[in-house]
């Protein structure tokens, strides 16, 4: 080994998240050297707690068969081999072949470049593509593209596209019959659009089964309360957790051991939601006997019981008095804050929409006529015309 220590041969390039190892003018003949090298690398990587690209410079480097063996062995379990890609520079054609073989055995990807500079550029690009893909996946939390939905001759929705962001509260507004509810129904698979795609968490889809949407973390309340009327508040909320229950029906029939424990664990979770929504006093009441406002609240509770990622609310405050509306607003904001749930709601009360939403989509006659922040939308002449046109 020549004068530079291994530690000195390792450099980190933060911008492209790459660890560079300089093997220039080095001869590796035995396993001891390789081990020393790997130990050092693992040491350094452990401190960073991240994954790095791996750039190795081979200018005038000689690695003997024995050393290659060792590389392959260590490489398998090591962090390095799990790296995102390995780039090697300046090797002879003999070395290149050896690298390829080695990469194959240690199962990682090896790209080979002629110069160090080329490799750094390429790595930068790779890094960027990855980051873009990541942000793209994050940004298209939910994207609706060119969705059209017809019922026989009635066009409920015509070529609507919009996008909502993770963690935000978005609203769909529009006059009666504009297609708002239909839009929600398309998003969680209750209606099947004839055309268009809905991309949710990076997965585009055309049509889907309703219960699949639930499995992907979409929960929902309805315009006309759709509680399970024959059941108590508690049972309604417990039903909301059905996807999280794993015991099979035989265990449930015996109601012993795991089934009982599971029931209790979920009961606890449900009680938290009951506390959160301040409905402790009615937990055993059949929902059919509750006043309208409380039923709406229970319905929200049932949706929350599923611990959704995306919560769709169809007119959560319709038919409520001012006080109930304030309560509901508070709950919605709290859900968004405390659980980080993304919310898409439909609401007729403009005051409420402007107060709580980050983003608004306006529909009319099944078409999107505007979108933007509440302020942008409020002053949009097209929106004003649509509302004046139908409400008077």
């Amino acid at each position: 080994m020549n004068e530079r220590t291994i530690a000195e041969r390792i450099t980190f390039h933060d911008a492209i998240e790459t660890m560079e190892v300089d093997f220039s003018h080095l001869t590796m003949a035995d396993t001891v050297q390789v081990d020393a090298f790997y130990d050092e690398v693992e040491n350094r990587l452990a401190d960073t707690g991240r994954r790095w690209y791996f750039l190795v410079v081979y200018t005038d480097c000689v690695i003997q068969a024995q050393a290659w063996e060792r590389f392959a062995e260590r490489g398998k379990g090591a962090n390095v081999a799990h790296g995102l890609g390995t780039v090697r520079v300046g090797a002879t054609s003999q070395t290149r072949d050896a690298i390829r073989e080695h990469a194959g055995r240690a199962s990682f990807r090896a790209n080979i470049y002629d110069t160090r500079e080329q490799a750094i550029v390429a790595l930068g690009e790779m890094r960027k593509r990855r980051r873009d893909a990541q942000t793209a996946a994050e940004e298209t939390f939910l994207r609706v593209e060119n969705v059209s939905l017809r019922f026989g001759g009635v066009k409920a929705i015509t070529e609507i596209s919009f996008e909502i962001k993770r963690g935000e509260i978005s609203a769909i507004i529009g006059p009666n019959g504009a297609g708002k509810s239909s839009m929600l129904n398309v998003i969680n698979g209750v209606y099947r659009p004839q055309e268009g795609t809905v991309t949710y968490l990076g997965h585009p889809r055309h049509q889907m089964e309703t219960h699949e949407a639930a499995a992907q973390g979409i929960a929902r309340t309805f315009q006309n309360i759709a509680l399970f009327k024959g059941m108590s508040v508690l049972d309604n909320l417990m039903t909301g957790r059905n996807l999280k229950m794993k015991c099979n029906f035989l265990q449930q029939a015996l109601y012993w051991g795991s089934a009982q424990r599971e029931e209790l664990a979920h009961r606890k979770k449900v009680e938290e939601i009951i506390d959160f929504l301040e409905i402790e006093h009615i937990r055993k009441t059949p929902v059919g006997r509750l006043p309208y406002g409380l039923q709406k609240r229970v319905e929200l509770g049932r949706a929350l019981a599923a611990e959704p990622i995306l919560l769709l609310l169809d007119e959560p405050m319709a038919g409520m008095n001012v006080e109930e509306k304030q309560d509901m607003c508070r709950f919605i904001l709290d859900v968004n804050d405390q659980f980080g749930t993304t919310i898409l709601l439909i609401e007729h009360d403009m005051g409420v929409v402007m107060d709580i939403s980050d983003f608004v989509v306006v529909l009319d006659h099944g078409q999107k006529i505007a979108e933007g922040t509440p302020n942008e939308v409020r002053t949009d002449p097209v929106v004003i015309r649509a509302y004046l046109g139908t409400t008077h």
């Binding site: 026989g152 129904n185 209750v190 209606y191 315009q223 759709a226």
Partner: protein
Amino acid sequence: MQFFFEVLIGGLLSGVMYSLVALGFVLIYKASGVFNFAQGAMVFFAALTFVGITELGVPFGFALILAFGAMILLAIATERVVLRPLVNQPQITLFMATIGLTFLVEGLAQGMWGASVRGLEIPGIQDEPLEWMMENTGIGVSKFDLFAAGVSAVLVVVLALFFNKTRVGRALRAVADDHQAALAIGIPLQDIWRIVWAVAGLVALVAGVMWGARNGVQFALTFVALKALPVLIIGGFTSIPGAIVGGLIIGASEKLGEIYIPPFVQSTFGLETNLGGIEGWFPYVMALLFLLVRPEGLFGEKHIDRV
């Protein structure tokens, strides 16, 4: 081939009977959203009442009118006792109530007129083959069946006229579409229900008299009437043409099935037992298979629940 046609025509004509019963279901379902399981019992009630009255020496025509009167009374009583208290209840509750009504009506009918099997004669119409048809084609077609088909056709035309040309008829159609709209026409919902049940009673009377004349008036009528259910599934619950076509399909296929399927199955599987009597379930299973392909029926509209 001749035999095939004979069976086919016989089946189609008996299918007319199913159509008649199914028609009663459709009328009530369209106007009140009630699936009236008791329609078969009403057929039985009507036939028994009619026979009972003629046995008292009342002439045929007058007995018909009196029996229709009884059906109107039954309609009024049903509306008052069953429908009104259950208005706005789930459909399934009303359906179960009509099962109760079935028992009640059957019990009443037999309680009033006795449970023995009665013959019923329609003056001038015999159940014998049509001569010229027999001579020319060799296919035997019962005069009686033809007569029944003719009566049914007339009934359907009369009903169509009633629904399309009269004020009450139009109101009934409006009710089927939208209860609010019907109120705007100015006819109370209760009246509409009474009328529609009475019309269904009339249809039941015609069906009952026809069936009775063919097979005697007996309790088994109520089972035959149950076959209107598969008819409805095939035709769609809300369609009058559907009831007719469905009845014909069921009638024809059950007769053809009865003739051709058991021997076929027996010879294919080398069974020795007689597999006859599939008529009892064949229509239901056919309806089931049909459901899997076209749940809304031949003439029904596809419907997506609104949420």
